[in-house]
Subunit: 339 residues, 4 copies
């Protein structure tokens, strides 16, 4: 049983069906009937006027979002373990033409308002220093932690006060919303978020995430983002197959159904090993203490996962699992301690 | 019946089947079993050691190829109607960090050795001028014309003599090979080509082209290209669905079967309107003289296509057609003249 | 006697004196008293509110001007023999992050309104094509030809109508104004010019040109340009020595005095060889027919100059010359025909 | 008396004289007789074959050095208070096209081998992570601390072992050498340094630093750097005035004479306030504890300097001072404690 990544999972059946249904002639690029429905589908979901573009990957969605929010000579305040910092081979630097990532530490890969404010206070306004222009957070974070609406809003206030853009990497946004049970709007534009990378692939999609823009500048930014999408080779000839996936995710709450299943699986595992947890489990990732011998024991029982440095491991659950299906691993974890 | 683009066509059944067969858990990115087979599949097809990467789009494949061949201060000699010049929103400039496109005219969107040599002769070697570093051609060209192996080799000789890289945009490479009946090797590395954008989407694929590197520097360039692919947001989490498509195209000559069908359809139309042709028909595109009234007549019969400036039109055939299936349009064209 | 470039000339005495006068302690970068006077000095000269920055070189001034006027995905309409195209090693591509140079032919290296309008008409507004965003001209041109105010205004009208920025490379702006006898304002902002690279070095300066912004967006663009200047390593620690040079040029009409001298020298030579001229002589450059034997004859008399392709030569006069001082070359040219 | 920056100082007389001596006609750019002597002058100074280019500013020299050593997808290990991080408006990101600055803390703005090795150990070699490609240090550092030859060599060993380039920002290299009394070679290429930004302006020059390349790749890197210099607008038309300054600095040990004077002045001040020092004084900068009231007292006596955060100040001495000339400030500092 695979727990090394939600990327390893097959595509969920509803998404496959949606792609098959889109397998017909239509206009190329984003001129088709599916792409045309993205704005309205996300506007309904977020209870405001949203501009939405399909984008190949989360890395591209993050980078294009940042490119619309940050000039080359600007800076992006973010966590030092953010995906944009450690897992994108410098893609934000490529798309922004060299903007600086201004990294901060923080528990659970979460930024705090205090840390952000303190960092901003150190920047002189002269031309020698890189001015901060964006705050970027990940929700759920790289450690499976979730920012609640008021936590996002506290950062959003700082962004607004300092005239900064506010981006959210939502590769696991569905898991965050499923955990919180809040309205998507409360976690985003009502809290000051300007741009959201809305993840689909880790949540059951095949290829394609959505990049969403909120607020009065949404139109201008989406128009700019469409240029970047083409210019970076991300405007697929047959975009309808991406749009159809995203619509399938969004239109019947499949995104939440899938995320709830993955979250439930993670909770079942967390309850099986409460003393091993390195981070509170709020989404679909567990980071646990695990000796090399214990890891070998679990792998001997066909559970796959990544080591996470010395004496620790990362377990990722996914849409195709739930509490029941991960019971074997839960039992195996319990057996490590009590076996 | 659609003739406005080969992008409008559905995905061919074998490709859909291959994607369904790949719908199982495996490692992410290009760590899966399908991606692992690309090198050997293309090496077999091209009768030499090839390094192959799946890439989202033709624009990305072209740009990443150029980024591996050209420094930011270098130039790419290409046709002034090349796709990289007129239809990629400056993507080559983005990926190469500002390399110059050195454009030349030429009949049928083909470069001639004479024009290339003359252009090279004008460049001073001092630091004030941009040195040419790459020749890039499209085969079949933007006007559906085909370079034969000896024509490619003549340009390849110039490239070798001047120490330039040699790139081929093969969005319709299949149509070129189907027209020529030659070995793929003869049209590429044996003629000096270093990098080939091998098109799939226009030929029945859904998402994903292959970027191929030949020759002694293939390994180094592919390694570099893999960095660019990630850095530009093109490393898909579930790359197996792209690899499976490409393998389906290549492994049973589906790519040639599909291209032959499209070419045959184009020939059938060409024979129906020999006096209207603006360019010789060698692949799957026709550029014909057509008055506005004639265009309206054809559209009134449900034939869709793009105008191509004043008094002309472009008709593109595709893998799902053949001489028989386009007979209605052939008849309609004949009727314009003799009706 | 040197005629190969106005770069070869020593610095004129007034500029050297100004540098010596600035050789005292003051604040670094552009925080000094000389830099502080640039805006007002140029505002007086141009009879409007001007924002002015010293910049190291003409290449940098051109590129930073273009970077403020053109996004990375935009295009710059310019002459195919413009300095920004042929003599800057792709600097505009570097500073704009890959914007496209959209080159046009034209007599004497001058753009015509007809050619510009025709080019603009070919660009589709979709995301596949690079949108034109700037028109850039050189005055005096690379062939020593001069645009009159009404010619500039005709291009300025096109720029305004299409929402394009308008840049003038004025490496030899002084020579153009000296030839025309017009107000600097008439040749620039009154004709729609947004940004001017105001040349000093070829006209007697040592190091440093001025980059000027006109119009309602001047402030915003100058603020942006100051970022680019720093980011590109062009913010000198001791900027006062550049500012002092530029002020010396501008404040007592030294720029015009010097340019008139160079122009007069060129006219004297033109009158000596009227049948050899390849371009009308309006500034301080002559392009003349000259056989290899004739060139050797002149060089044998210690006249230095560059060949300009087969059977032609370029002669550049400078601020330290005048009609009298170039009389020996004038005589030598006459002697070639009548000797 | 100014202590806010060594940039505020006038140009030293020998440099002014050298510029005056170069005020004659010669070839443009770096085709003149002074530029031609740079390689040999620095080769003599460094006791090895050196390639040397004049570059406008330290920011440009650092950035061009990094651009020759680091691909866009690579990283530069450096101190988190390095000039390239905090005072260049992101210039390294501009010149490298988005390479990452991998910052580390360290006492006195010095990198330690332990910290560098630990950082390198965290980087996975896959394409998702930015690979380190360069180590960059500043000598003397931003806090006026000096790396001794063995400290540089320890970092050089790490660089060689990991295949990294090694750059030294030597804006105050003269002060470091003057402090150490070592051979320039011992502090650079013998310790593994590949590229050195050799500062002149803070040490009595007007405009222009030298960028030096050492070792077997020096030629290739200098050739590449010459492209970058032109492409970034840093190839001055009249480069002879920069080359002459640098030669004046180097050829009669003026660089060391000047640095010794500045260092002596700093030592005199350090001895006057030993209990206030925040960093050991090794070059020409003092960082001292100073209350707002004390700062006001000193400023009331016409001593100018920058505050350095709350309760601290930075004092910079320069070539035009020595122990005797700064005696008034030394006395004033003593008076603060004992007055």
């Amino acid at each position: 049983m695979h727990f090394f990544s939600d990327n390893a999972t097959p595509v969920c059946p509803q998404v496959m069906a949606a792609m098959a249904a889109a397998d017909q002639a239509d206009h190329g690029y984003d001129g088709d009937q599916w792409s045309a429905r993205l704005d309205s589908a996300f506007s309904a979901l977020f209870d405001t006027q949203v501009r939405a573009l399909w984008i190949a990957t989360g890395t591209a969605a993050n980078s294009i979002a940042l490119a619309t929010l940050c000039p080359p000579y600007g800076g992006v305040i973010c966590h030092d373990e953010a995906h944009i910092v450690v897992d994108e081979c410098g893609a934000p630097g490529f798309f922004t033409h060299g903007a600086s990532l201004m990294t901060l530490p923080g528990d659970g890969a979460k930024l705090t308002p205090e840390a952000v404010s303190a960092r901003l206070a150190t920047i002189r306004p002269d031309v020698h220093q890189v001015p901060a222009r964006v705050i970027s957070i990940t929700n759920a974070t790289e450690y499976g932690r979730v920012y609640a609406p008021d936590e996002v809003a506290a950062l959003g206030n700082i962004a607004r006060t300092h005239g900064l853009g506010f981006h959210m990497d939502g590769a696991r946004f569905a898991n965050a919303v499923a955990h919180l049970g809040c309205a998507p709007a409360d976690l985003t534009w009502r809290a000051g978020v300007d741009a959201l990378s809305f993840g689909c692939v880790k949540n059951g999609g095949m290829i394609g995430e959505a990049l969403l823009f909120f607020g009065p500048e949404a139109d201008a930014r989406a128009t700019e983002a469409a240029r970047w999408r083409k210019r970076s080779g991300h405007l697929f000839s047959k975009g309808r197959y991406l749009a159809a996936q995203i619509l399938a995710m969004v239109e019947d709450d499949l995104w939440l159904t899938n995320a709830r299943a993955a979250n439930a699986a993670a909770q079942a595992l967390a309850q099986a090993a409460p003393d091993r947890l390195l981070h509170r489990v709020e989404a679909n990732e567990l980071f646990i203490r695990l000796t090399a011998a214990e890891a070998a024991t679990l792998r001997g029982q066909s559970f796959d996962f990544y080591d996470w440095g010395e004496g620790a491991a990362r377990l990722v659950t996914n849409w195709s699992q739930d509490a029941a299906s991960v019971a074997p691993l839960a039992a195996a974890l319990r057996a490590l301690d009590h076996g």
